[in-house]
């Protein structure tokens, strides 16, 4: 297995934890200001606070984008950008793709190579005014420690740092990670069940993927088994309205069923029948 360049996970996690240890502190302001001041200042800050440590980098093969993202595209990658992300990472081992240190190194290299600008990391592009620059200025000039802390957390999440929410951040919050894993699931599941790649990608849209990935990484990981997930996707494809309404109850009931029945080896089509029965009784 090829070794890929990554930040040592302990160092990376510690960097985030130190930053989050005191809300509204001078340390947080300094971090935000370096991000606001652009590429050179931000990279210098990271050099001083991460890469000064001897074992901070695990050397190996690097992954480079030959693509310049817009801010909105980085925050919500559309399907064609998801495809670019997938193609760049599809040969990287899955273990790296779930590693915060690996993704942290990728993001820093993307800044170095001008694929993204550091202020994108603070972006909250839900409204027209919430660009990264706006969010940074708003936090730096604020006296509210919560606002400053929120902005630091947002940047760390955008870099795949585990300090704000643990390792699951890669699957649930981190933009590139979400795009990769959504595409990865659609690709692998389209070889297991009768739905096409596009049909699965549609089911796993922003809302659908969020619903599944949050559960897979918070104690309901049995749904990540391909035969179980296959049954769920077949069911959802026939009953698209069920996702938000009853999915939590269906997954809880599947958990109960999986105690005595090996639904992980039962074919997806039979799991679909089981799920239909469960949904009918809710």
């Amino acid at each position: 297995m090829a070794v890929y360049k990554a930040i040592d996970n302990g160092t990376w996690d510690n960097f985030g934890k130190v930053l989050l240890s005191n809300k509204g502190s001078d340390r947080q302001i300094e971090f935000l200001q370096s991000c606001r001041d652009g590429k050179d200042a931000f990279l210098q800050y990271l050099d001083k606070n991460i890469f000064n440590e001897k074992d901070a980098i695990i050397s190996g093969k690097g992954v480079f984008f030959n693509y310049k993202f817009t801010e909105a595209e980085f925050r919500f990658p559309p399907v064609d950008t998801q495809k670019i992300i997938w193609e760049i990472f599809q040969d990287v081992p899955r273990q790296n793709m779930g590693s915060c240190g690996f993704w942290g190194s990728v993001i820093i290299d993307m800044i170095k190579h001008d694929c993204i600008s550091p202020d994108y990391l603070a972006s909250n592009v839900n409204g027209v005014s919430e660009t990264g620059i706006y969010m940074l200025d708003s936090a730096i000039n604020s006296n509210e420690s919560k606002k400053i802390d929120d902005c630091v957390r947002r940047i760390l999440r955008s870099m795949g740092n585990s300090a704000p929410r643990g390792k699951r951040i890669i699957f649930n919050d981190f933009y590139l990670g979400k795009a990769y894993w959504r595409w990865n699931w659609s690709s692998s599941m389209s070889n297991k069940i009768s739905l096409s790649f596009e049909e699965i990608l549609n089911t796993l849209d922003e809302k659908g993927y969020a619903e599944f990935s949050a559960k897979m990484h918070t104690g309901k990981s049995y749904i990540s088994q391909t035969n179980t997930l296959g049954g769920l996707l077949l069911f959802l494809n026939k009953n698209p309205g069920t996702l938000v309404k009853n999915m939590k109850k269906i997954i809880d009931n599947l958990s109960y069923l999986s105690i005595w029945k090996a639904i992980e080896v039962q074919p997806p089509e039979l799991n679909q029948v089981e799920i239909e029965k469960i949904a009918g009784n809710i």
């Binding site: 074992d55 081992p93 899955r94 779930g98 090996a262």
Partner: protein
């Protein structure tokens, strides 16, 4: 939760009470990290309806692997089995490639393939409670459970990863711990200079016979005690790697020292109070 389930058929599991004491399902797993192999050995002893189902290819041994960090689960059904007439044992071995650099959680069980009807007789391996019963078992039902295997026992190689750093000065050693490492991952990393690395990789099986061999043997115990003293001082132990926590509790109890008192607790002293971990426990991964 599983105890609340009332099933219409008996399931073989620890202290379930349905089966005769002579019916025993055991599983061992050995991980060879160097060539990324996991060898899982199943053994079902005693005459039972489960053994009959396996021998008639109506039930199978199954293992589920769980790689926590990626929430990835993989299933491996075992198609082959062997029957030893002398011991009455049905056994099987699975040789599984590991996709990640750390060992997964391993959950073994036995499952039926199709719907089955079982008529209880003297060869079913069940207690008198089931005498004369006829019961139906659904396809893919788990008819025998085994505890999850977690690689947390005596062999400390599952917790420690040793790395050589050529630029370190002779005799240097640095320990890093990620308490929240995933299950099966090695949460403690020892980074050391070449000379220390060479010492740690030596196979030591004899009892120490001089100061050097005694020091060599004690070094792992010293590291573990210092790591555990650090962990012990953490306010919340909620997210700590379960193997590490379990081992910490075991080591702490063996030393007989008071680990709760931060002011007077001395990790180096505590390490001298237990039989040191042999260096070769570090090298189990070298097949």
């Amino acid at each position: 939760m599983s105890d609340d389930l009332i099933l219409s058929f008996p399931v073989l599991k620890t202290e379930s009470g349905d089966f005769l004491e002579s019916i025993v399902y055991t599983v061992d797993a050995v991980q060879h990290q160097n060539d990324r192999k996991l060898i899982v050995t199943h053994s079902l002893k005693g005459e039972s309806f489960i053994a009959e189902l396996i021998k008639n290819n109506k039930a199978r041994f199954l293992v589920t692997l769980f790689y926590k960090d990626n929430a990835e689960r993989q299933n491996f059904i075992c198609d082959d089995w062997e029957y030893d007439e002398d011991t009455g044992e049905v056994g099987a071995e699975q040789n599984i490639d590991i996709d990640f650099s750390y060992a997964p959680e391993v959950s073994p069980c036995i499952v039926t393939i199709n719907d089955e009807e079982v008529v209880v007789n003297e060869k079913s391996g069940l207690t008198d409670f089931w005498k004369g019963e006829v019961f139906n078992i659904d396809s893919f039902a788990r008819i025998a459970h085994h505890f999850k295997l977690q690689f947390t026992s005596g062999d400390v190689s599952s917790l420690l990863n040793v790395r050589c750093e050529e630029e370190y000065q002779s005799g240097s050693i640095k320990t890093k711990v990620i308490e929240t490492a995933g299950e099966g991952e090695q949460p403690i990393t020892i980074v050391c200079a070449q000379d220390v690395y060479d010492e740690l990789k030596k196979q030591v099986t004899d009892a120490p016979f001089d100061a050097v061999t005694a020091m060599r043997k004690a070094i792992i115990t010293q590291i573990l005690c210092h790591v555990y003293a650090h962990m012990n001082s953490l306010e919340s132990k909620k997210d700590i790697h379960s193997g590490l926590l379990k081992h910490m509790e075991m080591v702490a109890s063996k030393t007989g020292e008071n680990w709760e008192d931060d002011n007077s607790f001395n990790a180096s002293l505590a390490a001298t109070k237990i039989a040191p971990y042999a260096i070769d426990a570090l090298n189990k991964e070298n097949k």
